[in-house]
Amino acid sequence: MSRKLAVIFLAMLVLVGAMSLKTIVVTHGSSNSSIIMANGGAPQPPTPWKNGGAPQPPTPWKNGGAPQPPTPWK
């Protein structure tokens, strides 16, 4: 039982380490190069959620140019 728990613990530890590493890399990376690895030598198309070369619109939660109000919990 303890060995199985140790395996689960190690697997979770690896997952946390890998995701932390990814967070560090992606946070410091540019938004254009979100694909890090590609298998094989086939030419890589643009990411599926960025079809075409049109400029990216502003985020939906910032409509208009009005100044952002202070957060309700402050």
Partner: protein, 232 residues
């Protein structure tokens, strides 16, 4: 638009992937390293299918885009299980196959759940987001696992040359991808240079595996150097 360079590198990569399976078959390593060979065979099949779709629909078509990313996710999953099969080889003396299988499945399920948790907030193209996210997350898990495996090879003083070569080549491949990504972010103005360089990295893994299967016999032994010299 794709130029002759992209096509030549793609063809070279596919030929090298075929060479891995052929070399493994010729040297009786096909069954022993079955998941590594399944990964290479799947890469060849997907390369041919990608070329067919590319030539029918074009590079900027949605058909090619979706097929590329879905097949890439499948290949990454197979590569993950191939990496875990190397763990089974390394820890075969400890009779730990059962625990490695459990750990493999738990880690894979955890990565899939994490990927789903990340993408569930995006309303559109949920499945596609999930597929790409899972592929990239598995890449990072593979990167960490490869370094842990290399540490285990050093600690256990593994001597099987072919196995060491396979683990090392995987470590170099993952590191090349990570270094490429980091340099791309550092030097964004040199985008053309990295577009030239990136496809070449795809050839590294099949090249090193083909070399390993062809040149290194299964009974070849090597002693890896110590991790650190301990003064007496």
């Amino acid at each position: 638009m794709l130029g002759p360079y992209e096509y030549v590198v793609w063809l070279m990569c596919t030929l090298l992937e075929t060479a891995v399976v052929v070399c493994a078959y010729k040297k009786d390593a096909l069954r022993r390293y079955i998941l590594l060979n399944v990964y290479m065979a799947a890469s060849v099949v997907f390369s041919i299918a990608r070329y067919n779709i590319l030539s029918h629909y074009g590079f900027t078509s949605k058909e090619y885009l979706y097929f590329y990313y879905y097949s890439d996710a499948l290949l990454t999953i197979v590569l993950y299980f191939a990496l875990m099969s190397l763990y089974s080889h390394i820890f075969s003396d400890l009779k730990a196959e059962r625990y490695i299988r459990i750990g493999t499945l738990i880690l894979f399920s955890g990565t899939a759940l994490f990927s789903y948790a990340v993408v569930q907030q995006s309303s559109s193209k949920l499945v596609t987001h999930f597929v790409v996210e899972l592929s990239q997350n598995l890449y990072f898990v593979g990167l960490v696992l490869t370094y842990i495996l290399w540490a285990a090879v050093m600690k256990m003083r593994e001597t099987r040359t072919r196995l060491i070569q396979l683990v090392l080549s995987m470590g170099v491949y993952f590191s090349l991808c990570a270094a490429n990504f980091a340099l791309q972010n550092l030097y964004q103005s040199r985008g053309n240079f990295f577009e030239f360089l990136t496809p070449l990295f795809g050839c590294f893994l099949p090249l090193s595996w083909a070399y390993t299967f062809w040149h290194l016999p299964e009974d070849a032994r090597i002693v890896p150097s110590r991790l650190a010299v301990v003064p007496r």
